[in-house]
Symmetry: D2
Subunit: 236 residues, 4 copies
């Protein structure tokens, strides 16, 4: 586990982007899985102008690591939609380089990734409760691969926010790469910012591994890097 | 997780040796940690004539991953003694390339390995109870690095065999790299043979990760290979 | 450059096979290019029983690095035919894992390999004149990628042997990955046996790089291993 | 060969820095060799504040790839002095992480680097004449390792600039890692800016490899990246 503490969310975003670019500049095909959500927002703002229109990134492929489908299944899910608007669309990433995950193809996700050479790196956020991707406490076990998770009321309540409160959009299940699939990547980079992440960051650095706090497992990956801002590091 | 099933212990030993050689032939410094005990005995018999006197292996370094000291501390411990007689001495490995672990230096083991570039590969056995190195059920937690483990009576009884029943040799503690230190290696290769390992091999392949069965964690390493003979695979 | 000297062609073949297996056992997709001809004959005899019917090698893909087409183009060329009979057919390699190179697809060879993740390793022989693949002295330059080489009379005379003297089979051109394409692989392993290779082996080890002796360039690859028997090493 | 064209020297410097950081952020010991001179000046200005005082870079080691000693040998040479003032001193790099090359230790340079695990990356500039490090046209051959080069009058005239015209400082020889030593690194990154580099950049991209233009060899390295600004790319 490598821990990098930056002063501000801007510096954290820049350092995260530099990690990402370190993989993107490789010569051969590069397979990445990158997080949506709010934490990486500033990073994508910095990254877009560096990537847009550059031939040297044509060998970089992107794989979704989770998906929350809309109940009415006639539109793309929340995760891919967020990634498109934050990065893929403004950076003009070719559709051929975007590998979506959804309720129709999730059972072959691990196999498809292996056939394509495996993921070189996954960039993840972490929740205050220790969740990452769709691995919320109590939903997946350390040994799980890519799975469909049934949404109970507790989860549906949490998902309400993703659907801006439009409850008829909230689905009965979502898809996520499980702990085993995530651990199979070449490298893991996790980002966290803000004081409400200070508790989970302390737990990760303390190093107790506990299935009730899913992200603690990832600290055992041989190339796990945690990049945080000062607020998220305030309990260290 | 990659699982390789061989017909006999001889073929399993050859395949394990080929994995080992795949690392040993690398161009730059190679850091390995290899298991003692009975399972790899045949493998070392095959390996010794291939390694002895060969200049091309002078860049290979060996690090112990555990040690059971003699109570009277004026002699080397059980693990290093076993490795010397099975491999280091008959293969003429230079003393400079052997990095012992003991009660005097264990607190700096993880740091020394990192400064030397990390372990490229660890070759491990597994017990019927799921233990590996000195990570017996109930002794270490998934998050532990290299530690000193106090021996209670249960453990002392188990150790009696290592000391051929000479109970005054049995120590009050032993040393082991913990799960976190083991997971930090570049690759893990685990070997198992015989029907008494069939149960644990099934558990490993089934993929449920449980601290009560320590080796189940290692299946989450991005480069974990399990090599077994037909008897050990009989429950798959 | 790493040089490994073995006593006999059998030991050289075993060591070459172990190098090959070190790559073949990897977890993710592995792309190899392996040599035909007489030098590796014994190696393939050893390798076939180790590979045939083993699921754990289903991620290994094979790419031809050269091809001498028959003049009448209604049959496969000399190189792929040789590899099929020495290894692919007896080892039951799936057709999907065999990527042929020929006069119809050679212009996209480098691009296809890059899209598939690059070659992890190339196993090569070497001629007494320093040629490797179809890079005969005077045919390609160090900077060349995959090319079609026109056959002048000198080359046609040399090729006669490949066609067992049936001169109407000898083509007007052949295909080869050039020095630049070969150097682009992750690792290079070269094998040589017998006293008639002693001169070129000495040149390789001496380390003078000269386009008139094509293989001398390969010694500059960061992971170049030369495996020879005692006869081939007799001038060292 | 990967070619990256940036609009300005500032963007080129940032991209070069990102390549460097991609290696510096690795978990285990990282061995780098980085260029002095004028081309990387802006890059070091950007890099210093990102590195200074950061614990996460304590595993990064720096090895000089050439040295021009002062004739009076009681002071450090031109290369290390330049690197100290541009980067090591302002970034507070620990003396233990700086591995100088000089007239007293050059014969063991290649061996020391190998024992330390090899160079992970070399960042190089290129001269309009195709020289890199001290590999000026006519001084070293493709097969050379680290060597001492005698300075004839032509070279002494060129060196005058390095010594600001103080001719009594100009030495009779200098030290450089040769082409073979440079090619042995894990990755090579070359930077060039300005119209006077446009000719050599065109030669590198055209891909003819010629000992009279030393840097052309480096394009054959399996991980060679060339980063240039628009002016240096103006002939492409």
């Amino acid at each position: 586990m490598k821990v990098i503490i930056e002063n501000t969310i801007d510096e954290m975003s820049m350092t995260a982007m530099q990690h990402l670019l370190g993989y993107m500049y490789r010569h051969k095909r590069v397979n990445l899985s990158i997080t949506g959500g709010t934490t990486p927002g500033r990073m994508y703002e910095m990254l877009v102008p560096m990537v847009k229109g550059k031939d040297c990134f044509s060998n970089v492929h992107y794989y979704n690591f989770d998906e929350i489908p809309y109940r009415a299944e006639n539109r793309e899910g929340v995760t891919i939609s967020g990634l498109r608007s934050a990065f893929f669309t403004p950076a003009d990433i070719a559709e051929d380089n975007i590998h979506v995950l959804n309720q129709y193809n999730y059972t072959s996700q691990d196999e498809r990734i292996a056939a394509d050479g495996g993921l070189d790196m996954i960039l993840l956020g972490v929740g205050a409760d220790g969740h990452y991707c769709g691995n919320l406490p109590g939903t997946t076990h350390f040994g799980d691969k890519t799975v469909k998770v049934a949404c109970d009321d507790r989860i549906k309540n949490r998902l309400a926010e993703e659907f801006e409160g439009v409850t008829e959009h909230i689905p009965d299940y979502y898809i996520t790469m499980g702990p085993r699939s995530i651990m199979d990547a070449g490298s893991l980079v996790m980002i966290a910012s803000g004081t409400k992440k200070a508790g989970i960051v302390k737990q990760l650095v303390d190093g107790i591994v506990d299935e009730a706090v899913p992200a603690t497992l990832l600290t055992l990956h041989p190339r796990f890097t945690l990049i945080v801002d000062k607020d998220a590091a305030s309990l260290l």
